[in-house]
């Protein structure tokens, strides 16, 4: 046992001290924080304000083009098409909408001019405005009055609640669950890949540099393999912890800065609100926090740590065994594929799981240890019955114990073999051999 700790310590220190670890530790959170903060920030800023000149020869849409938050309309301030176009060229307006003088039944040739190609969303916006008005006019023409039409409009927004077994209701957020599920699944997927490959390369290095013969004289191959797998797992966990700490620090920091700089423009609305909410309302991270509120945080965190570690242990041993069968990185490729296919499959099928997080495909994929770490994480974000989570964890533990035993049987023979042409038949023989 003493030796396992020595091996873990070496594997851990030799990796944590590398420059690349330091770089990843700093760059990772910056990347995450950027990914999370920037879109929120941009959403808040929105697109730049626009000024659109409308030349409506039909004079039907006067009341439609009232100034909006981001768009200012100049309705029929200029009625001459040519001079309107020159205004665009001079840059006085961003866009020019020309509605020809036709009857309301025949309005298909509306044109829009601008210096640059307009975005699809802004065109859609204009189209929707016109279409709504035309439909409205036609409905009125067919004898319905305005009051009735107003009544006809229904506003529906479904709020999702999830009921736990103990009966407490929490407001669900499908978007939030999806985001959290995706991030967690991807982190596990990446972690298994990056650190699994690290395991494999470590084994190949020991094997090709032949230091293995000295080490094996003092350490049992199984201890050496476990030491390596666990040591690298600790590197991954340290990195993850540092990432979480640094990312939240950066996000909280930037959140505070934003909330201070953002307050003045938001003042108008805040006046009506509870003064206590002031800061929260100005914080662009508010939506993120709301999403987090809707999740069963302890369950998600616990499940994440569990599947993070057990998923890695399940695959880590396999990667080590693959490394033991190869003399070089290039040799390892042929055995990598069967190891990585279930992982890639589980990421590819995440979309399907997402459509029906409690369907039978999702259920079985979260039970089979090959796909469980990635798939179960996605499901946990949506809430999973305790018995399913428990069962999956039991399978996972049994799975990684079996996998490590399986891998160690190949590993103990493989690490001492040089120059042998290894194929699956040879691997099977190593596995069966008794030495």
């Amino acid at each position: 046992m003493h030796n396992i700790f020595l091996v873990i310590k070496r594997e851990y220190l030799s990796r944590v001290r590398k420059k690349s670890f330091l770089v990843m530790t700093i760059v990772g959170p910056l990347l995450f924080a950027t990914l999370m903060v920037v879109p929120v920030f941009l959403m808040d800023q929105g697109a730049d304000g626009k000024a659109i000149l409308v030349v409506d020869e039909s004079h039907l849409f006067g009341h439609v083009f009232e100034d909006e938050e981001k768009i200012i309309y100049a309705y029929n301030t200029i009625e001459d098409e040519e001079s309107a176009k020159s205004m665009i060229q001079e840059g006085k307006f961003d866009g020019l909408l020309i509605i020809p003088d036709r009857s309301i039944d025949d309005l298909s040739e509306v044109s829009y001019y601008s210096m640059s190609n307009p975005s699809i969303s802004s065109l859609n916006h204009l189209e929707r405005k016109l279409r709504n008005e035309i439909e409205q006019q036609k409905l009125i023409r067919s004898g319905l009055d305005q009051e009735f039409l107003d009544k006809l409009k229904a506003r529906v927004s479904v709020s999702a609640f999830s009921i736990s077994e103990s009966g407490t209701e929490t407001q669900g957020s499908a978007v939030g669950a999806t985001a959290v599920g995706y991030i967690a699944s991807f982190l596990i997927y990446m972690f298994i890949f990056i650190y699994g490959a690290m395991c494999m390369r470590g084994v190949i290095e020991e094997k090709s540099s032949r230091i293995i013969e000295i080490i094996v004289a003092s350490v049992k191959p199984f201890h050496l393999m476990m030491g390596k797998v666990l040591g690298i797992a600790s590197v991954g966990l340290s990195q993850l912890l540092l990432w979480i700490t640094l990312t939240s620090a950066i996000m909280l920091g930037s959140g505070l800065i934003f909330s201070q700089t953002m307050q003045p423009p938001a003042m108008g609305q805040i006046e009506l609100m509870d003064p206590g909410n002031e800061v929260a309302a100005g914080n662009p991270l508010e939506p993120v926090l709301q999403v987090l509120d809707s999740l069963n945080i302890p369950q998600v965190v616990l499940a994440f740590v569990f599947f993070f570690v057990s998923g890695y242990l399940f695959y880590g041993g396999l990667f080590a065994a693959v490394g033991s069968a190869a003399d070089s990185d290039a040799d390892a490729q042929q055995f990598m594929l069967p190891v990585t296919i279930p992982l890639i499959l589980s990421i590819m099928l995440l979309g399907v799981v997402l459509n029906d997080p409690n369907g039978s495909l999702a259920f079985w994929m979260s039970m089979i240890p090959f796909t469980a770490p990635v798939v179960m994480m996605m499901r946990v974000a949506f809430g999973v019955p305790f018995w399913e989570l428990g069962l999956s964890m039991v399978f996972m533990i049994a799975g990684f114990i079996f996998m490590i035993w399986f891998a160690s049987r190949i590993y103990r023979v493989g690490i001492l073999m040089h120059g042998t042409k290894v194929n699956y038949k040879v691997l099977a023989r190593w596995f069966m051999s008794n030495q």
């Binding site: 020595l6 020991e206 004289a217 003092s218």
Partner: protein, 303 residues
């Protein structure tokens, strides 16, 4: 007293017989040369001793007890294919390897400094192994092998990769360790070093042991009554000996190799020669290990 007792060890890989019923006794305090051509099974035997692989049959006893993995930690083993963690610093690497063998940190650190000093590597202690020259890395590897003061050292081709100066340095260290009481097995096919260092040898060929014993005894055993004589007049084979070859040396003397055919001994031959010519020198040709090696291996092939 026997330190390592190898009894009828056999090993086959996928149908290929790597060792066949090999028994060797290695006496305490000896420098034991394990000789054999490439592929004879030397490394397999060493790997069985160090428990890297398991024999199919036979037993190995270390100091009278059947060898176990735990006991192997007490052996100092220098594999033929040298290897160290390239990215690790010299000092840390040695400490790690020493600790794996069960040494305490303080004890190991003390000895690491002693040994680095002895092999003049002290200034490299904080350098990574990949920054060292090949010879220096070899020295570090040697230190890793002997750091825990093993009573039994197994060195597989210890001099490969060393320049003559460093090879001498290592040779002196091996002798010093022997004088301190260690038993040293070394496997090689470089016969000069065997001639110089070994007091016992065993020869393995084609997975079988064909020779074993003290070096002197083996040499005596291989003496075939050949003498080298330098003399003035030409010699003809006469009663008691055959002339094997004869040539003029740089001083214009004849150098002749003869073989005693009747086993009468050197005095009898010398007497008969002295009657015919003037003898400048007369020596018995003791076979070198190299000759014994080649002769034995060839005989095996012809047999």
């Amino acid at each position: 007293m026997t330190v390592l007792d190898i009894q009828s060890v056999s090993k086959a890989y996928n149908g290929h017989q790597a060792l066949k019923d090999v028994s060797i006794q290695i006496p305490q305090g000896s420098i034991f040369g394990l000789l054999g051509p490439n592929g004879a099974g030397k490394t397999t035997l060493i790997r069985i001793i160090t428990r890297i692989i398991e024999q199919d049959s036979g037993e190995i006893f270390l100091n009278g007890a059947r060898i176990t993995t735990r006991m192997v930690r007490e052996i100092g083993y220098l594999p033929e294919e040298r290897g160290l963690y390239k990215k690790m610093k010299v000092g840390e690497q040695l400490l790690y390897l020493a600790q794996l063998r069960g040494m305490s940190k303080t004890e190991a650190t003390k000895r690491i400094y002693e040994w680095l000093e002895r092999l003049s590597l002290t200034s490299w202690i904080r350098k990574k192994v990949e920054d060292l020259s090949k010879g220096m890395a070899q020295k570090v590897q040697f230190i890793a092998t002997v750091l825990h003061q093993p009573q039994l050292l197994i060195l597989d081709e210890p001099f490969s990769g060393f320049d003559p100066v460093n090879a001498n340095l290592i040779k002196d260290e091996i002798l010093r360790l022997r004088d301190q009481g260690a038993t040293i097995i070394f496997s090689t096919h470089r016969m000069e070093s065997v001639e110089e260092l070994c007091d016992h040898i065993a020869l393995i060929n084609k997975s079988e042991k064909i020779l074993e014993g003290p070096k002197i005894e083996i040499k005596n055993q291989f003496k075939d009554g050949t003498y080298i004589i330098t003399h003035r007049h030409s010699l003809n084979g006469s009663s008691g000996f055959d002339v094997l070859s004869s040539s003029l040396d740089e001083f214009g003397r004849l150098a002749t190799m003869i073989r005693d055919t009747e086993g009468k001994g050197s005095n009898a031959i010398l007497q008969s020669i002295m009657q015919n010519t003037e003898v400048y020198s007369f020596i018995e040709k003791v076979p070198t290990i190299n000759e014994i090696f080649i002769k034995s291996v060839k005989e095996e092939i012809h047999a």
